[in-house]
Amino acid sequence: MITNHHRILITGIMTIFAWVTVLNASTGVSLHVDRSSVTQNDAIKMTIKISGSQSAVTPRVAGLQNFRVESGGTSSNFSMVNGQVSSSIDQTYYLYPKREGKFTIGPAVVPLNGKNYRSNAVTITVSKQASDAAQQSHQPVFVTASVSDTNAYVGQTIFYTVKFYYSVSVRDLGIVLPEGQGFLLKQVSKPSEYNSNVKGKQYKVIEILHALTTEKTGTFNIPPTVMKMNVLQRQQSRHGHSLFDNFFTSTRPHSVQSQPIKLTISPLPEANQPANFTGLVGEFTINANLDPHRIEAGESTTLSLQISGTGNVQLIPDISVPDMDNIKVYSDKPEITINETSAGFTGQKNMKWALVPQKEGNYDIGPFSISFFSTEKDQYKTVSTQKMNLVVTPGKQRTSETQIKPLAQSLPPIKKEVQFFQRDILPVHDHADALQINLYDHLSLWQRWIMFIVPPFVYLLVVVFFFRKTRLKIEKLNAKKALAQFNKKLSKCQSPKNIDEILKLFYQFINQRLQRYGGTLTPDEVQKILISAGVLPEIASETSSLLNKFEAAVYTGQSDQDINVLENSIRELAKKLDKGIKS
C-alpha cells in the first residue's frame, strides 16, 4: 500500500533524477596536470574532469606515448548549491616520463550520449634529473636546490627550487633558506607534493618554488638550503617481531642540506638599448583601444592602454599621452595587478585617458610603445600599438566641463590651498555697540552675591514654613485620633481595672485632644480649659465632678460606684468632649 509519505519520497527522487538529466546540458571535459615542469624521474598527476556525467567512461588522451601511465582511481562529485545541481567524475592518472623533452598532452576525448567531448591540452617540460639528486639517492632523505638559470641578467626573474625527497616517515619539517647579500628569496606558490623515482627507488617529494631577485651584478654563491625534521624510527622488540612493533616508534632529529649554487648575474647589454627602456626584463605585450572612434567636438572618448607580461612587472612604466593640438587630455589613475605564479611574476597595468577634442577633424592617436629586454631572445625588444584614428565631427557647442564630468567624478578632486598674498590686521570696531557693556559688568559684587543667595534663602523659607505646617497637621490628626486611642487603651487594660489607670488614660485623652503638652491637671483647671476650648459649661462641670469622684476614689481607695459603671460613664464623657471641643 502506497502511503502519502511514499508518494512524497518517490516524487522527490524523480525530481532529483530530473535535475540530473538537466545536468547533461552542461557536459564538458577538462584536463589538468599538477605540474608543467618535471624531471625525468618525477611522477605527474593528471586529472580528467568529466562534468555532467555520473557514469565512468574511458577517455582517449593524445600524447601519452612518451609517458608510462598508471591509473590513480576515479572519484565522483555531486553538489547542489542554491538549487544549482552539478555532478562530475574525476579520473586520475599518474604519468612517468620516459624521456626528456617538451610534450603536449591532450586533448582527452570522452564519448558521452553519442557525442565526443574534447578537453584542453597541456604542455609538459621534462628535464634531466638533477645530478645532486642522483648522487644522494642512496639516502632515505635528501634535499636538492636548483635555479632556473645560472647565468641571468639583472632584473630577470630567477626561480630557486627546493626539492625535499624522503622515503621514510618524517614530521616537524622546517626549512632554513640561504641568506646572503645581494639576493632575496620569496616563496611564490604553495609547496607541491608528488612521487619520484630516483635510481629505482621511490621517494615522496615536496617541491617549494621561490623567486630570486637581485639588483646587483656579479657572481653569487648561494649557500645550501637546510631542511630540519624528526625522522620516525620503529623500535624493534627484544623478542623479535611483535604485534605491537608499529606502535612503538620514536623520533630522531635529522637535518639535510642541499649543494651550494653558483649564480652569475650579468648586466644588461648597453648596445642597442632603446631610448625608452625603463628596466623591464621579461616578455611583455601592449594593447591600446579607443572607444568610440567617432565623436562630436566637445564630447569625450576613452583611450585605454594595457601592458601585460611576465617578468619584473612592477617596473611597468606609466605611459604618457603626448600633447595634441585641439584635444584636451584627462588622465585616470593607472591600475596594476601583479600575480605570483609558478611561471614567475605576471602582471598587467591598465591606463585610461579621457580625450576631449575641441574641434572637428581627423586625429591620429598613438602609436604607443614600450621596450624591454627579452630573456628568451637575449636582446632588447620594442612592442608598439597600432596607430588609431579619431574622427571628430562638428558638434553642439558644449563646455568641456560638462564633458569631463563623468571622468572627473572618478578622479580625486585637486584642491588648492588658499594662500595669503600679504598679512595684516582687521580694522577697529567703530560701531556704537563697542561702548556697550553687558549686564554682568553693571552689577556690583554684592549684587551678584545677593542674586546667588536668594534662591537657597527662598528654599530655606519654604522648608521652615512647610515644616511648621506639617507639624500642625500632624497634631491635628493626632487630636482627631485621641478618642479612638483612649477607647482602645481602655479596652486593653487588664481586669480587674484600676481607677488610677483609667484616670491617667483620661488625662492623656484630654491633653491629646486639646493638643497641649504639660503635666497633670486638676479638675478645676480641666473645667476652665474645656470652657476656653468651646465646650459647653455643663459638660465641663460634669467633667470636673467626675474627675473629682475619680480622684477621691484614688486617694481614699473607696468608691461608691462600681468600676464598670465609672468606666462607662467616663467613656460617655470622652465622647461628649470629643464632639464638644472645637478644632
Binding site: R423, I425, V428, A434, L435, L439, P455
Partner: protein, 234 residues
C-alpha cells in the same frame, strides 16, 4: 564718569583719527573713553590695533589679551591676536591644552554667570517643588538639574579664578634683558622680545621676577613688562 554722549563723541573721534593714520591721537582718545567710562572689549581691541600700526607689537598683544576678557569669541580679535603673536620673535613654550579649559576660554564670564544663575534658580526651584510634589518626573528633573548646576558652578568658578588670578605679563619693550637678580650689575641670563608672554611672580623696586618657560626665570625691568590684568598689583 562722563556722559554717554561725550563718550560716544570721543570714541568717534578716535575712530576718525585711526582712519586718518593718527594713531597716537586715537590711543589718547580710546584711553580717555576707558578711563571716563567703562572698559570694553572693543576699546581694548581698537587700542591693540593702534599699537600694532605703530609697530609696537608688545603693546598690541597686551591690549588684545585684555580685550579677550570681554570678547573672548570675537573673530576679529582672534584673527588680529594670532597675527600679532606670529610676529613675536621668541618661540613660546608649548603647553598641553586641556580640552575643557580651552572650551571655557571661548565663553565670556558673564555668559557663564547667567548660565550658572539659571541653573542655580532651577536647582533650588526643583527642590522647592519636590517639597510639595514628590513624583518621578520631579526626581529625574532634580538629578539632571543637579548635574548641570554643578557643572555651571565649577565652570564659572574656574573662569572667574582664571580672570582674577591671571598673573601673565607681556613684554612691551622691544627687548628686555632678564638678569639673575634685581640689579643692573647682575648676570644677564637671557633676553626677551616684544610680545612674549611671561608669568609675573613678585616685584622689588623697579624689578619684576618673571618666568618665561620652565627653567627660564629671572628679573626684568618692571617697565618692560606690563601685566595683562589691570588690577594686578604684583
Amino acid at each position: 564718569m562722563a556722559e554717554n554722549g561725550q563718550l560716544l563723541n570721543n570714541f568717534v573721534q578716535a575712530n576718525e583719527a585711526y582712519a586718518n593714520g593718527d594713531y597716537h591721537k586715537a590711543i589718547e582718545q580710546y584711553q580717555w573713553v576707558i578711563q571716563k567710562g567703562y572698559p570694553t572689549g572693543s576699546l581694548y581691541f581698537n587700542l591693540g590695533n593702534c599699537y600694532y600700526r605703530l609697530d609696537q607689537t608688545g603693546w598690541a598683544i597686551l591690549y588684545y589679551e585684555r580685550a579677550l576678557r570681554y570678547i573672548p569669541d570675537d573673530p576679529d580679535l582672534l584673527f588680529n591676536l594670532k597675527h600679532a603673536r606670529s610676529q613675536v620673535e621668541d618661540q613660546p613654550e608649548k603647553k598641553t591644552s586641556i580640552p575643557l579649559k580651552s572650551t571655557l576660554n571661548r565663553f565670556h564670564l558673564s555668559e557663564l554667570f547667567w548660565f550658572m544663575m539659571i541653573c542655580h534658580v532651577g536647582f533650588w526651584g526643583i527642590l522647592i517643588v519636590r517639597r510639595f510634589h514628590r513624583s518621578e518626573w520631579s526626581y529625574y528633573t532634580f538629578v539632571v538639574l543637579c548635574i548641570i548646576w554643578a557643572i555651571s558652578l565649577v565652570s564659572f568658578s574656574v573662569k572667574w579664578y582664571d580672570l582674577n588670578y591671571d598673573n601673565r605679563g607681556i613684554v612691551v619693550a622691544s627687548k628686555s634683558v632678564v638678569r639673575a637678580g634685581p640689579d643692573e650689575r647682575e648676570t644677564a641670563l637671557f633676553e626677551l622680545h616684544a610680545g612674549s608672554i611671561v608669568q609675573c611672580e613678585r616685584h622689588e623696586g623697579d624689578w619684576r621676577l618673571i618666568q618665561f618657560a620652565s627653567g627660564k626665570r629671572g628679573w626684568a625691568k618692571k617697565d618692560n613688562i606690563e601685566p595683562v590684568r589691570i588690577e594686578n598689583n604684583i
